[in-house]
Amino acid sequence: MTDLPTHTDRSLGLVIDLDTCVGCHACVVACKGWNTENYGAPLADADAYGAQPIGSFLNRIHSYEVQPAEGPAQLVHFPKSCLHCDDAPCVTVCPTGASYKRVEDGIVLVNETDCIGCGLCAWACPYGARELDPVEKVMKKCTLCVDRIYNETLPEEDREPACVRTCPAGARHFGDLSDPQSTVSQLVEARGGIDLMPEQGTKPVNKYLPPRDRDIDLLAPLLEPVAEEPRGLLAWVDTALGKL
């Protein structure tokens, strides 16, 4: 049944650090690679070498410019994948029961053999976390690499989502957000992690860490100009041009 569980034993999810993400898209490539070769239908591309390429991805990186009231604009790279919401609207709208939220770890998954490809779950998601595969015609979404995190054939350090494992900036963290002692929960606590679109009432598990406030002129005071007045030839040019 696509009723949501009233309680999940754990709340596995991601914490994404907008302060350290450099926008390299390595997580996008790692995600596409893993999820094309492993669990479920491969993440297809249609017309990959043609004029109108289109493909399914479970993770995409936007970039936003934030212009404060004073000071220079800031560029924020913004990775976005399924937030594994506690009140996931994509699950309850599913007519076939293909979409479900797991009781044991809170991961939202799609049973691809039950999916009729109606697309209603993608309509119900405010975050754009679900994409219909252009070839397989079933709904694809982040599985939190459910086939990695419990996979005992992998070395222990690889038992985390492919995006987290590959991030060169350490901007993605994986863990149990229902456990206040977990590193991810403490990170959220320390950095003031936030929900996306809280007004939609989806109660997302994934949290985002806002960019840190910083004095971007940190080095400027150390770089005081050393030659205020020109000397020698430049001084002569300066006075000659000034008299013209």
């Binding site: 934030v66 999916c115 119900a124």
Partner: protein
């Protein structure tokens, strides 16, 4: 939202079909033998054709029967059950009327209620979506029901009820547009809340995740027709409401009025999808 042809046909035809079925099952007009065959046939063909059209937008229509399983939470599943129940009840009522010349009135009432409940379930598939503020409102369901009743009255030849219902639906449509136009802004969802960066300053989409389109932008960020929205709305209002009401005042114009109404409702449904803004568009700096 992308105005898929299959969904426009489905909502228009099955809406009118179930509306007509509701009137016929209430004995409006009282029918026997061949007239009953014709009118019930028309209603079943419209409702059925709409339901079949709706399967064309599925990725895996061969699994459509699975959609009956989740009636506890899903309006799409409830719609499947209600549509089947309505067609079955109306089918039995029509069979008794045609073959046994007997009118089983309570069965007719049940079929009429189920028909309208089907239209309501269809409307709730859209109205339940918080992600599309324009649809997330009681007026969506009210309008679907009003259009089904107006079309049903028109197709069953109930001239005066049809005029009243058509004009009522027209007023409701005007209200839905008037209030719907500002519902995205009123919803409070903006790029600032979508990114959580609003407190830091003005947020602007700087660069999309990829250079081409994707499933999300094709499905939910449909902006092509909006520049002609006012003209299209005016034409649809005239075709769906004004022309049929005036024609119904004249004799022998029922089929012409029905044709105009059908064309108008098709346009209204096209606008219903094309004008709906999904909040995911905000992430792409669009609406």
């Amino acid at each position: 939202m992308h105005p898929a042809r299959s969904l426009i046909l489905f909502t228009t035809l099955s809406g009118l079909g179930f509306g007509l079925l509701a009137f016929l099952c209430l004995g409006l007009p009282p029918l026997t033998s061949w007239a009953a065959v014709f009118f019930f046939g028309l209603a079943f063909v419209m409702a059925g054709a709409g339901l079949i059209a709706s399967t064309f937008h599925l990725g895996h229509p061969e699994r459509a029967l699975k959609a009956f399983t989740q009636w506890r939470s899903s309006w799409l599943s409830r719609e499947a059950w209600l549509a089947t129940a309505a067609l079955a009840a109306a089918g039995l009522y029509a069979a008794a009327l045609i073959f046994a010349d007997t009118r089983v009135a309570p069965l007719g009432w049940l079929a009429a209620v189920l028909s309208l409940a089907t239209v309501y379930a269809t409307s709730m598939i859209y109205a339940q979506l918080k992600t599309v503020p324009r649809w997330h409102h009681w007026s969506t369901s009210a309008l679907f029901l009003a259009l089904a009743l107006a079309g049903g009255a028109l197709l069953s030849g109930q001239a005066w009820p049809a005029i009243v219902l058509i004009l009522g639906a027209g007023v409701l449509q005007f209200y839905a547009w008037k209030t719907g136009d500002r519902r995205l802004a009123d919803s409070g969802t903006t790029l600032a809340t979508a990114t959580g960066l609003g407190a830091r300053g003005e947020v602007r989409a700087f660069e999309p995740p990829h250079t081409g389109p994707n499933y999300l932008t094709r499905e939910m960020v449909f902006v092509v027709a909006r520049k002609h929205a006012l003209k299209l709305r005016s034409i649809a209002l005239v075709l769906a409401f004004l022309v049929p009401s005036l024609l119904l005042l004249l004799p022998y114009t029922l089929s012409l009025a029905a044709a105009a109404h059908l064309a108008g409702v098709l346009m209204l449904r096209w606008l219903f999808f094309a004008e709906a803004e999904h909040v995911v568009g905000l992430y792409y700096g669009k609406r």
